[in-house]
Symmetry: C2
Subunit: 205 residues, 2 copies
């Protein structure tokens, strides 16, 4: 049996899509979590000085998207053709475009710069990208790609908790984006995912 060990911070973030995929597939894994204040000392222990890291039978693997794409294959949530995989990758990358903008503003330390960036984020970038994603969800019959459940749905749904902290001023569980909301709600209603979300560690984001 393959032994999986996920190293990430004690929050959702880039670790949560990986946890969602494991739980969806009913695959056992060790969910190792670090507190931020431990990180300075731990950083050097990991190949790129960054997390997540997934150990598969003691071999360390880096880069969250590479890990997600691999696990999606293992749990049957990849596409059935190269074209389908391109479609999934594209919507995930588009989601990550806005997700990165959100994270950058969230971690900005200069309060003046933060306020300025927040304005552009809330007034322009979030509406633009969320509308696009809503259109994708509408065009794909309640999914983000390929008109069926893929890892794009799980990936995007896994960020909701993070968003409810990072952009709490404007995030209302996608109420204004009914097609995104439907996909996310459907993912969160999947038995294995539901159980995980109900029992996972309660973190600030």
């Amino acid at each position: 049996m393959v032994v999986y060990k996920l190293h990430y911070f004690n929050l959702t973030g880039l670790g949560e899509p990986i946890r969602f995929l494991f739980h969806y597939g009913g695959i056992d894994f060790e969910d190792v979590r670090y507190e931020m204040n431990e990180w300075v000392d731990l950083k050097k222990k990991f190949p790129l000085g960054q997390l997540p890291v997934l150990e598969i039978d003691d071999k360390e693997h880096v880069q969250s998207m590479a890990i997600c794409r691999y696990l999606a294959k293992q749990v049957g949530l990849a596409g059935d053709s190269d074209l389908e995989n391109m479609e999934i990758d594209a919507v995930v990358d588009t989601f990550n475009d806005i997700r990165l903008k959100i994270s950058t503003v969230m971690w900005e330390q200069n309060q003046e710069v933060k306020k300025e960036k927040q304005k552009i984020l809330h007034e322009q970038q979030i509406p633009f990208y969320f509308k696009k994603l809503d259109e994708y969800a509408e065009a794909n019959n309640g999914h983000f790609a390929c008109k069926k459940l893929t890892w794009a749905d799980l990936y995007i749904a896994s960020w909701s908790k993070y968003f409810s902290y990072a952009i709490k001023e404007v995030f209302n569980d996608y109420e204004n984006y009914p097609n995104i909301k439907k996909v996310v709600d459907n993912v969160l209603a999947i038995e294995n995912i539901k159980k995980w979300v109900e029992t996972r560690p309660d973190t600030f984001c």
Copy 2:
């Protein structure tokens, strides 16, 4: 016959890995190039207001990484297993981590901020990531992943021209990173790639 039409700016950047993959595979494509000053008017014509966009038989596809991964499959430069593909994806994403830092500094408008960021980039980030990539290249017998030629090699090699502008102060064709240099030189010596690089439009980056 599939008809490919690539829309990108008249520079290397995110378009060049795609062009490299087409040329490597000997696949015909239309190489549509836009000047920066045309962009304000053109932006709205494209799905996400960004480039590259690849038309495949008139259907528009977005997101450069999704496009590269798809084309890599078509030209035989993807991995032979899910594990191999994860390894390729991981090294490409690690390269993109530093590539993005380089681009952010290159396009920074505030000269004071730029200078500060440049210092961190040149003294810490570039040495850190280039050393990691050099280690990968050494461990993989002259390739970046899987001990064989994959799209990771083409991807990384395709950015050399861009780097020779973006970080001209410190970039010397990887002279200090002999293993990276070897991979890049080998890619640029592939007949179809060599011909392309010799005849491609002469752009500033």
